[in-house]
């Protein structure tokens, strides 16, 4: 079954051209001109046949892309790619904090978008071959089940957050650079945007640290990257 993608983009021409190129890639594509329409579609789809990935333009009339991103993230852990017209820290970071997993900047190459989508979908379907439970103090990661518990409470992580945690957890105490994490989680090369890692680490901390302001497990090693301390 081909992956089902929802494009939320107010510009009809971009939506159409994106749909064409993604359909060429073999995806099933649905377009929505506004966040409101999209959330309607999304609600229905959750019941019937869920989407595999959502693409959200940050500049939308009515409810903006950030709010839409938060709403989708609230309802589901599926991968979200945001589309922005600017590379400013402000837009990118705000979008990632709203729950997006990755982003592309206009004007983007269709190949680039397709590659980002492939990376996210491949990851989403990847099954973990390691059958084990990792425990770090009050934090418990069940690799196979894909669940995480903090002080006996189940924590809801997005796929990206879960993979990020697993990557750090499978190399405890070893510093992983932003580049390594970008490569392993997002399939970027050396030039991937380090902010992707930083924002996801921040989001992850709010979920798996008892005191996110003073993290005990996910430690920043200045100038080098991040590591997980047991």
């Amino acid at each position: 079954m081909s992956p089902k993608i929802l494009i939320i983009e107010d510009d009809e021409r971009i939506r159409a051209s994106m749909a064409l190129s993604l359909e060429d890639e073999g995806h099933e594509v649905l377009g929505a001109p506004s966040a409101e329409t999209a959330l309607d579609l999304f609600g229905h789809a959750l019941v019937n046949q869920p989407f595999d990935l959502v693409i959200i333009d940050l500049m939308l009339p009515g409810m903006d892309g950030f709010a839409c991103c938060r709403e989708v993230r609230h309802q589901s852990a599926l991968p979200i790619v945001m589309v922005t017209a600017r590379t400013d820290t402000h837009d990118v970071v705000a979008g990632l904090e709203a729950g997006a997993d990755d982003y592309v900047t206009k004007p983007f190459e269709p190949k680039e978008l397709a590659a980002r989508i492939r990376a996210l979908l491949r990851r989403a379907h990847a099954t973990n071959s390691v059958l084990s439970i990792l425990t770090f103090g009050e934090l418990e990661i069940q690799l196979e089940a894909g669940t995480v518990r903090l002080a006996e409470q189940e924590v809801h992580l997005t796929r990206t957050e879960f993979l990020l945690l697993c990557e750090l957890a499978s190399n405890p105490n070893k510093v992983l650079s932003r580049e390594q994490l970008l490569e392993r989680i997002w399939s970027y090369d050396y030039f991937g945007d380090g902010r992707l890692v930083d924002v996801h680490i921040r989001r992850l901390r709010t979920k798996v640290e008892l005191d996110p302001a003073n993290p005990r497990h996910i430690i920043t090693v200045r100038g080098l990257g991040y590591k997980l301390a047991p």
Partner: protein, 491 residues
Amino acid sequence: MTDALPELAGTRRLLRLRHPLYHSRLSSRITFLFGMSALVLGVMVSAITYYATRSSIVGQYVTAAETTALDNGSVIHADLADQLSGPLIVNNIDQATSNSSSLLYEKGSWTFTARLSILNPQDLPVSLRNSVKLGVPAEQIFILPSNGEAYIAVGQPINAPSFVARYFEVFPMSQAQNELNSLLSALVAAATLTTIVGLTLGRWAARRVLRPLREVSEVARQISEGQIDARIETSSQSDLAILTRSFNRMVDLFQDRLEREERFASDISHELRSPLTTLGSSISILESHSDELPPRSSQALALLSQEVRRFQRMVVDLLEISRIDAGMADFQGEEVYIVELVVRSLERSTSTPPPIETDPDVDQWRVFADKRRFERVIANLLENAERYAGGATRVTIGRGSEGHVRVAIEDEGPGVPEIDRTRIFDRFARAASSAGRRGAGGGTGLGLALVSEHVKLHGGAIWAESNLPNGSRFVVELPHLIVEELPEAER
């Protein structure tokens, strides 16, 4: 370019340094003026006081001396009339007076007491003695050479038909001298105090007068460093309020304009990017189906695609450059190893990277770089070499000027003539010496300009030089971070 960049940075630093210096100079000038005025005033008042008091004190002493001497004179007159002997007369006078010396000349000889150091009639001033000899009473203040002290001598002729005598009485002035001395010290102290008060006042006044200036320059500095919403606190004092109000108003207008420009740039950016995205996507779709098109259409599509890509790049570059111009560049700095950064940038920019030569000294050097921007620098320089010089032949990484790492991209093309070496970094530059050749390249005309801007954002410099015997060398120097030894475990 080589010299222009460091020079520019130097001027800016100099200006920033000069501000506080200039202020302190102005404020010390004001302080100095106040101090000098106070000193002059103090000295003048002291001098007038001193001279007025001195003449009054001396006058009193002279009057007192005269009175005493004349009284004693009449006593002597009576004694001489009674035909008392000289020594007896002088002795009587001594008994009656406390601190003066009497000298009596009668019957051709001197009689005098030794109560003061005046022992000798020769010590009396000659003019005084002459005056008395001529029968005119006189007094005179004089300094005794033997001890350097001041005395007043009063002389009078005492004449009667039966006798001729001259009587001199000498009074010490040391007490008056002491009084004047203590007055003088008091006045010097007062003048000093006045000067100190003047200096303090001057300092206070200078601070007060210069405070608005300092505030303005401080706020101006903050604004120039990007804190565009910095304002001067409005002062209640009306004369300063004018300055602060107009300054704040100026900054308001400036900020407003900046914000409008930012909005405009953002609008343009969005408006341009959207159709470009559609164009790019649509052309990609067509390209992936180009084998289904007739040859002529496919050819046209290739042209269209090439131009659309160029147009896309030009728009992206222009937007990038205008963001840098507006001071809104979003520098994504990271600490990275320079060698890895260069190698990765080369690999990404071309499928056939030129040979790299690395000075082992810089292996562990790191720079604070925006990887995306640096990659553009390398890509644009390679593209430039490709377009005008048949491709880069070598890339070297080594030590640059103090605190800098140097990355050089060399080619063996025709080289860049001296006159074009700074010009090629201008926007839409066309080399003066070979106008036609560069135009044909199909670049955006912004490549090297953008390279230069990116390097500047890194705090570095870029220039072109000759790569002897032929070709050119584009040199990028970036400041490197202090090399720290990392603990082995964290490597």
